[in-house]
Subunit: 203 residues, 3 copies
Amino acid sequence: MAITLVEMLDYAGVATFAASGALMAAERRQDVVTFVFFAAITGVGGGTLRDLLIGAPVFWVTNPGYAIVCASVGVAIFASRGRGLPKRALLWLDAAGLCVYAVVGAAKAQAWGINPVIAVVMGVLTATFGGVIRDVLAGEPSVLLRRELYVTPAIASASIFVLLAALHAPVVWASGAGVALGFAVRAGAIAAGWRLPVFTPKK
Amino acid sequence: MAITLVEMLDYAGVATFAASGALMAAERRQDVVTFVFFAAITGVGGGTLRDLLIGAPVFWVTNPGYAIVCASVGVAIFASRGRGLPKRALLWLDAAGLCVYAVVGAAKAQAWGINPVIAVVMGVLTATFGGVIRDVLAGEPSVLLRRELYVTPAIASASIFVLLAALHAPVVWASGAGVALGFAVRAGAIAAGWRLPVFTPKK
Amino acid sequence: MAITLVEMLDYAGVATFAASGALMAAERRQDVVTFVFFAAITGVGGGTLRDLLIGAPVFWVTNPGYAIVCASVGVAIFASRGRGLPKRALLWLDAAGLCVYAVVGAAKAQAWGINPVIAVVMGVLTATFGGVIRDVLAGEPSVLLRRELYVTPAIASASIFVLLAALHAPVVWASGAGVALGFAVRAGAIAAGWRLPVFTPKK
């Protein structure tokens, strides 16, 4: 059951990030191959980094299902010609992928015996690096520098999950609470402009 | 014989990509150390990613020959002061490296027991990531976004190779056909402007 | 003793690079989370690449001490509001981290049985990639292209260390000589504008 939930969340995270990558290709009026390439890189980039770092076999290499999901998302968004993709879809899909992936990444790290502090780091990297790679390859200013809460919601999701798991909460509750809290923080950032104070050098 | 051919193609791919990296350094009027650095990163970047992803020991780490080839290419192009390097050389060297590497990457993945779908992906990553990293480090718009056929020829080369290998074609024929087809597609893109249709949002 | 010295240098390298990452965040007036993120990525980026390439467990994944050092450096620099951080601090901290890391990286590679040529390469990658990733994520022109001696001091540090180690010099002397020589080269580049001749195409 736990495994199955993590797998489901994993596919959901891959698909939402893949969509965010494909939408970046759509903004740039690219061809279908570039749609699929950006969908795949954004979809599996964060999880790939996590697996390399924790020494796990890279999840999509032994299971072609993930590559097929990414390719399908890329082709579907290309073929849709933008129907039903309002401009802000990129932002909200990215937010959903962010929180789901933060929990999935932390859960997988813990399943591989990684200590709780680094499990949170792995959740954050899993969640943020697909988008970071997407921005770098697209030549966009990295989402890291936009002064929005972006890494913070990922930290919230992964921390809550690791904390509740340490308290022996059922994995479905720990996952749900982690995703919900992180998403609330990210939603506040997107919809209400929530921010953290920025660095102000002393005169 | 099969091993030897793959090794020869591997060195050829490293050398051609190394040259393309060194030519990027030449465009920017860099010093010889930067020539060698860009030659090395472009030369081995794609294969390095492939090896990390499939869990193989990274090919150039245990065999200093590849680093020496990259350094030699970098020094030679620096010392040549541009003789015999017409402006389009970068483009055609990159095209050759692309198709050779796509086949080499797919072949190595299959030798490590990777399934055919992901072996094609590995061929494509092996072929394209050296150039992608070169562009990112040079601050160039990524070749991925140039609306040219670039990833597509790599897909063609790797797919043909994997398909013919599955049909038990001799490795030399499968490799040759893969490289030739991919190179033809890339040559069409460079010389005749071949393209795929791009995304056109509905009004 | 050897192990302990390498560990001490390792923490020193992580902390100095983390500071250089946090100072980049300070220049961009970011929030504390971005300070920590840039401190961490710059602090451990090069060593992470080294460990992945040589097939070692990634050093900070099994030991949360490094992540805690990076987070502390990021928070401390954020909280300091720039007191005691003259503008050139970024440059000199980066120089110190560069040479320390070049030696640490080469030493670890040799401890993992990597041949001397590639051990030098590993030293250089360990030393330079944290800064390269920092620049790429910050959207800065990569330090690689600034026509300054940057990779060269890392090569000097790693080569001297590997050479003296091969001559059975005590590790503390080999390390010290490597760091000192590389730092002298980098200091010459920063303070006196030392350069290598650049590529000049023939008319």
